[in-house]
């Protein structure tokens, strides 16, 4: 003979389990009917405390396939590494505008720029950057040349640049431009001249 209190406790627990299952099922159904708008992961950069400075950035123009020097005013920190990050973010802001001359995917961001010894810079891009990059030899090399030429013009002593995606090495940017090795800044400067001289 089962004691009465055990039978009662079992019945109450079963009712609770059934009730909770129904509640969860209703919650899931409500979620499926009203999906939340997907917000691209935005990189939250620290506020820049430095004064506004006029810098030269190299902006890619897809239509003629050119690289053009352009002056912009952005707040820049005094630290070399922070300056490099702010320069690239200033450049990306141009590409993320509505009427961009070289559109990049929504949410494209530079995670970090690391300036290490012997003139080496390592750029860490996010995956939205490469996923939104137009595939093509010229389109990809415009992106690469634009970033490296902007950095080398404003950060003296830069000799080689390596590009990572989400902290990892990647073979190509979007099927064409090679990211497996280092970019020699002098070669990119020569390429930028070719791309500007059209």
């Amino acid at each position: 003979m089962i004691p009465r209190q055990f039978a009662l406790a079992t019945v109450i627990l079963c009712c609770l389990a059934i009730g909770m299952s129904v509640y969860v099922w209703q919650l899931r159904r409500r979620e499926a009917l009203n999906p939340q708008p997907s917000v691209p992961a935005q990189h939250v950069s620290p506020p820049t405390l430095g004064p506004m400075e006029k810098v030269t950035v190299y902006v890619a123009y897809d239509d003629p396939g050119e690289l053009r020097a352009q002056s912009i005013s952005i707040p820049l920190s005094s630290g070399r590494q922070q300056r490099a990050e702010e320069l690239l973010r200033g450049l990306l802001n141009i590409y993320l505008e509505k009427n961009s001359p070289h559109p990049l995917g929504a949410g494209s961001e530079v995670h970090d720029v690391y300036l290490v010894n012997q003139g080496i810079a390592v750029l860490d891009l996010n995956s939205a950057f490469v996923n939104g990059q137009t595939s093509g030899i010229l389109a990809e090399e415009l992106t690469v040349a634009s970033m490296i030429q902007t950095l080398s013009t404003n950060i003296p002593g830069l000799m080689r640049v390596k590009i990572l995606v989400d902290g990892k090495e990647r073979e190509t940017l979007a099927g064409h431009s090679d990211l497996s090795g280092f970019y020699d800044v002098s070669q990119v400067t020569a390429l930028a001249k070719q791309l500007s001289a059209q």
Partner: protein, 287 residues
């Protein structure tokens, strides 16, 4: 009878080493020079001239081939420091980029870069063959090949020119690229650095790029020359170019049209045909 047999055996035994030596010598000559020719007349070490030796500068003449690669005149290829050893069987290797699951650029929902490059490569091969130029495709189906595999195939075949074909929706006309690496790579020893294997042939690649651009410009087709950080160009040990074809009307479907592909492949084949006399010379690394 027994005496005769023994006598014949001795004669065969005496002649056998000479016969074997002659066969080995002829085989070696065939392996080295591709054809059995009389030994060159001249001092040891001098390389015999070819059938088209009339077109070759004499060793005493100041020839463009003696100009360092980085100072080559615009109308002459930076090439051989020695006369050619034989009329080379010219092979143009055409590489339709991408393939298989690696489709390249999605030009529109139904046109993929890998399909356009393959169709264009086949037309270019046909155009070259009709001009009497031997041509071969790196891939002739929708198969997947890594860039390293493509480079290995090209380096093994040792073509006179390697052409990688790409297609894009951006821009207009054609872009012809050479590898983006230093002109003076340290590849003088027996082993070649894989990442800069192109460095020894870069001067000839740039010369071929200039000639091809000039030939295509004559047709009125928009064409532009650039360098590009593009593999496998860096890994190819022979003159190597990459072509990127874009529509001229802004309509991507033009890339898939037979007329457009035929026009481009004919212009390219004419351009490659102008390179042939210079490509026939034996490519030597620049000093």
């Amino acid at each position: 009878m027994r005496w005769n047999n023994t006598h014949q055996d001795r004669r065969i035994q005496r002649a056998a080493p000479w016969l074997i030596a002659a066969i080995l010598g002829l085989s070696l000559q065939w392996l080295l020079f591709g054809q059995v020719t009389p030994p060159p007349v001249g001092p040891p070490g001098q390389v015999s001239l070819t059938q088209n030796s009339a077109n070759q500068p004499s060793p005493n003449q100041a020839s463009p081939s003696q100009v360092p690669a980085n100072q080559a005149p615009a109308n002459q290829p930076p090439t051989a420091t020695q006369p050619a050893t034989g009329q080379r069987t010219l092979l143009i290797m055409i590489d339709p980029a991408h393939g298989g699951t690696e489709s390249g650029a999605v030009l529109n929902p139904v046109i993929l870069e890998k399909d356009v490059t393959l169709a264009l490569a086949r037309r270019l091969r046909q155009q070259l063959i009709t001009r009497g130029i031997q041509a071969q495709l790196v891939r002739d189906s929708d198969g997947i090949l890594s860039v390293d595999q493509r480079a290995v195939l090209a380096n093994a075949a040792q073509p006179a020119l390697y052409i990688s074909i790409h297609a894009t929706s951006q821009g207009s006309g054609m872009r012809i690229y050479t590898a983006m690496l230093p002109a003076s790579g340290d590849n003088s020893g027996p082993f070649v650095d894989w990442q800069s294997a192109q460095s020894a042939s870069l001067a000839r690649s740039r010369w071929a790029q200039g000639q091809l651009v000039a030939a295509v410009q004559k047709t009125g087709f928009p064409v532009r020359s650039l360098a590009a950080p593009l593999r496998p160009l860096n890994n190819i040990t022979v003159p190597a170019l990459a072509l990127e074809i874009a529509p001229t009307t802004g309509d991507v479907s033009q890339l898939a049209s037979a007329d457009y592909q035929q026009m481009i492949s004919a212009a390219l084949a004419n351009g490659v045909a102008t390179l042939i006399p210079a490509l026939r010379t034996k490519p030597e690394s620049a000093p």
